[in-house]
Amino acid sequence: MTDDFNALFMQSTSTTSPVIRLANIEKVYQTRTIETVALSQVNLTINRGEFVSVMGPSGCGKSTLLSLMGLLDEPSSGTIEIDGRPVTSYSDKELAGLRNHKIGFVFQSYHLINDLSVLDNVEMPLLYRPSIGSSERRRRAIEALDKVGLTARTKHFPAQLSGGQRQRVAIARALAGEPEIILADEPTGNLDSVMGEEIMELLLGLNREQGTTLVMVTHDEQQALKTQRLIRFFDGRQVA
């Protein structure tokens, strides 16, 4: 898997090339009686090293957009390209490999596993890379925790941490796999303003210092304005 993945995706590293491209994306949720259009005619390009924020009212399709970019969901129609390659026909294994190597996720409610220590949580993306041994996994996890300033908490469990610390752990988990792209779904939504600011600074630092591409869904206009580009959605359509 790792070799296949490297052959496919680790070649293009130009700093100005599009890393994610959505073309004519539609996403419709269908039940027996209701058809809900979540996204319609979305055409969007995210360039390498960009920090893009996505705003819009609840239910406008922001999270759906992030799920599609993160290859967690399939569009009803349209094309998603990662590094210039359409991924629509990829197998589950190939998509999982892409998520594992290319993309890191940060969620509003952290999604940490409460029964695992901070260190074990951060190691998780690396578990799905058989080529990485346990000592290397540990080293990388500690390195990621160091970046978010939580090396002193490696043996703690999520329940023993504050909301801000949990989100830092979630960011460390996203960083452990050294992804090119981080998709953050309202990463400060559950935090107070001070902690929210801390997390925002952390994300900005990642983008600035490591060149990580970031796409962040947020409701906070102030935070959105700190990013390089702001995209607005309304009723499933990109309006700005």
């Binding site: 999270s63 759906t64 799920s67 993160g70 967690l72 969901d73 589950d92 294994k93 999982a96 490999g97 998520r99 594992n100 190597h101 996720f105 969620f107 409610s109 999604h111 596993i113 029964d115 695992l116 074990d120 190691e123 998780m124 993306p125 578990l127 799905y128 890379r129 346990s134 988990r173 796999g177």
Partner: protein
Amino acid sequence: MLRHLFTLMWNRKRANGLLILEVFMAFVVLFAVGSTGVYLWRNYQAPLGFAYENVWQINLNSGSQPRAEQVATLQRVLAKLRTTPGVEVVSRTEDTTPFSYNGNSGNITTGTGDTQRRTEEADFYSGGPELREVMGVRLVAGRWFDRRDETPTRRPPVVITEATQAELFPDGQSALGKVIHYGFHENQERVVVGISGPYRAGGELSEPRSALFGYISPQDTTTALNTLLVRVQPGTGAALAKRLSDDIRLTSGGRWSSDITTLREQRLSKLKVLLTLPAVLGVVCVFLLVNVALGLFGVLWLNINQRRAELGVRRAMGATGAAISGQVLGEILTLTTFGLVLGLLVAAQFPLLGVFNIKAGVYLTAMLLATLGLYALAAGCAFYPSRLAAGIQPAVALREE
């Protein structure tokens, strides 16, 4: 990944405590049933040592006839039966006949003082010169009882089985001509005149163990007056049985009656009785395993529904559907391992302490079977929930949270 699974399951051991207990209990029951099954199967596989087809047992009822007269009557009855067409050979014996519920057992010893050797519990049988032919007992060395034994002697003859010889003389020397003692007659010296193959009158399910044949002389007036074993020609049936019964009555002047059964019927009857308890245990075991299976299945199902977000996150982190499926399967097998380790610790005491004097191999085989059975059960129960977990759409699962 294995370490990750163990860490995760270990940290969730309290939440999964009941499940671990359930696996432990299931293991104990499987081990008990397995031990019984393996024990019986091993016994069943061992040679019986005699041919029961076409052998009839005749129980004689001498009514109120004085004992002093019974011997003479018995001699007449035997002479009559031996000349009856259809009868091949007749032997006197005691009531420890094949497939009966009667037994005579104890230890057999040889030598004295420091050099004395003693068998484990052994079976004692008695028979006349014809018993070997009636039952088809295999003679390995020496001879069976014959006319030479009719002269009373200080050391009556015995025939022992190979297993007895091996127990008494583990250095490999022959037991022929050696003096032994057994059972209630510990002071009575006996001389070994023959070595036979195995003989398990208890039937196929009885444990193979040492055995010995004592001699019943045709002139013996104290024992074996009421039981005869008769080998008849193949194909003979009810007509011959009626004739034998009539002959016995007429030869005894109408004073004796008889009850004739075939060893085949007795074998089936005994098998039914002996298999009843294991069968009941088996049904209870199946019932329990079905309950355990339903419990495992239900807990897993619930578990997966409660952990949709976690499974969604794992998918987001790069887990394939197969990896998620493998994880769920791995988790239940890990939990099973926790319960099994507890169960194996308990089960290991049985061979270590030699409980019920059953060979360690029986317990070890049962432990292996119970372990494999439980793993198979757990894997079977986890299969569908693991497929369900693999099918969870990560975007949907994360949105639900």
